[in-house]
Subunit: 318 residues, 2 copies
């Protein structure tokens, strides 16, 4: 590890000078094992992103920027570099951060310096989001969250989870309810683990129980992350987010999104234009072992602007 970047950071993705390589924490193995891996070529990095070893919109952005540096360091042919950069850019389609960071790094004179700048900036962005988000957390707050938006999904302490952890340090958090987040259970595997590591009182539930907990008066507000936000504030995030937002609306609970400014995609007038990744059916049928039949497995959904109370960014609220 080369750099001061990692002071206080999550080590989800970083540059390995001895490689050259992109080092990363394999999030698929959490919480059972904290295994650091190294991608020494872009194919390995793309595989890590596609299979969610590296996941979380900001983290895959940083990985993409380091990936450009890796291509520059390991591939001499310029046409081949371009080809690999194009492949990397589209490793996953929904989160804006990947294409954004790949574009920044690949148009920079020094891709590695640019990747490190993006990385450092994300740590600062996480801190700023946490500070701005605090205004929405009342005393004794009972918060529900979906998927995972903590440190390993970003670079610092997270986006929505960064807000929650900051509020916990101020003694404001009574309880956090964590959607397990089918199909890949990022809530059960990552969010619950990260909250426990930070000493935040938390309870896991199945996604389908969230509305019921709201109906029983156990929830004060929802706080989630985002993968891409259209100009009109329509927000793509992990599948199940929209369901949670609809339930919050029905129960008159505020619904907050936390995301870096880069998550806004100025080229998209509304959420209808956001490309939603459809992932493999195996993510659905591995549990029940039922392999016959039809399956639909959209990885994200779009929550319309009118269901979102505020979007917290590093610059304030939108």
């Amino acid at each position: 590890v080369s750099d001061d970047i990692h002071l206080g950071a999550s080590r989800s993705v970083y540059w390995d000078n001895d490689g050259p390589a992109v080092a990363y924490l394999d999030q698929r193995l959490l919480p059972h094992a904290e295994k650091q891996c190294r991608a020494v070529d872009v194919a390995a990095l793309i595989d890590a992103i596609r299979t969610l070893a590296i996941r979380g919109a900001p983290a895959i952005g940083i990985a993409g920027a380091y990936g450009v540096a890796l291509i520059r360091a390991t591939v001499s042919d310029i046409a081949e570099q371009k080809k690999q950069i194009a492949l990397l850019r589209q490793a996953r389609p929904t989160a804006i951060n990947l294409a954004w960071a790949v574009d920044l790094a690949s148009t920079a004179e020094d891709a590695l310096a640019e990747a490190m700048r993006i990385h450092r900036e994300q740590i600062a962005v996480d801190r700023a989001i946490a500070q701005h988000g605090l205004q929405y957390i009342p005393d004794d707050a009972r918060i529900i969250t979906h998927c995972h938006t903590g440190g390993v999904a970003t670079a610092g302490e997270g986006t929505a989870l960064g807000v929650i952890i900051a509020a916990h340090r101020l003694g404001r958090v009574k309880h956090v309810y964590v959607d397990e987040t089918r199909p890949l259970l990022q809530g059960a595997r990552l969010t619950l683990w990260e909250l426990m590591k930070n000493g935040v009182p938390a309870t896991l539930l199945i996604d389908g129980a969230a509305a019921s907990l709201m109906g029983r008066g156990l929830i004060d507000l929802a706080f989630v992350g985002a993968d891409r936000i259209a100009k009109n504030r329509d927000t793509a995030n992990k599948i199940g987010t929209y369901s949670l937002a609809v339930a919050a609306k029905y129960h008159n609970l505020p619904f907050y999104v936390a995301a870096p400014e880069v998550t806004f995609d100025p080229t998209l007038p509304s959420g209808d234009h956001i490309h939603i990744e459809e992932r493999g059916a195996d993510e659905l049928h591995t549990i029940a072992g039922q392999r016959d039949g039809n399956f639909t497995n959209p990885a994200f959904d779009v929550t319309p602007s009118e269901l979102i109370t505020a979007i917290v960014t590093e610059n304030g609220s939108r």
Copy 2:
């Protein structure tokens, strides 16, 4: 197997004269294996009900009635009979059918004859519900359902699923979307399997995707079952039902419940009084393998009357 009861029935639960024993299909093994088991004493039968080898409100009612016959046939001491009947009656708390059927069988002169009457009646009730429910299925209907309400959950062809299958025979069903129904995946394991067996076009989704499909205009109506219904029509059903009902309301889609008349509990003024079974945390953490932390695992939720368009019973609509 002793009886004409099984002509056209699902064989989920029946009386084995050669025993005496209560025979049942182990629903935990579906769809991989169709294994018939025999409970030769009440302890085995209670275990089968608790562990969901026998599940579905009507099916556990029938199992309870046969269980009384089994106790009468195998236990001579009257005090011991009473004790075992009381244990059987409370094997699971939320579905009304179990206590209702145990009470009927245990106050009847001939418990076995009464159990067979309840069993036969359920087959007829299934048919009547299917006929009454048809009025709510338009041509080219795209229907979403939650949990499992088919043949093995009842005795005939099911409640909500019975309606859907009857509508399919009339050529009215364009597609059925099936919530996988966490935590125990009755949708993935049972409903998808039963629809495929009946040639009904069906697609499985995670529970959290249902609202998103509604938002994308893919769903026309929801049809689910019930475990207990209060006097004011508030309806307890599998956890996640309420979330689906809230989403249907937000999208202005009709939300139907199908259930036998016995599901109504006249002693309960509203859903607030329905006892909700909290099941073990192991049902949540087995998938992710995350065993630390707090878990909440209510098996049911309550959908308030105002979210329900109609409740279809064997007598018509309520």
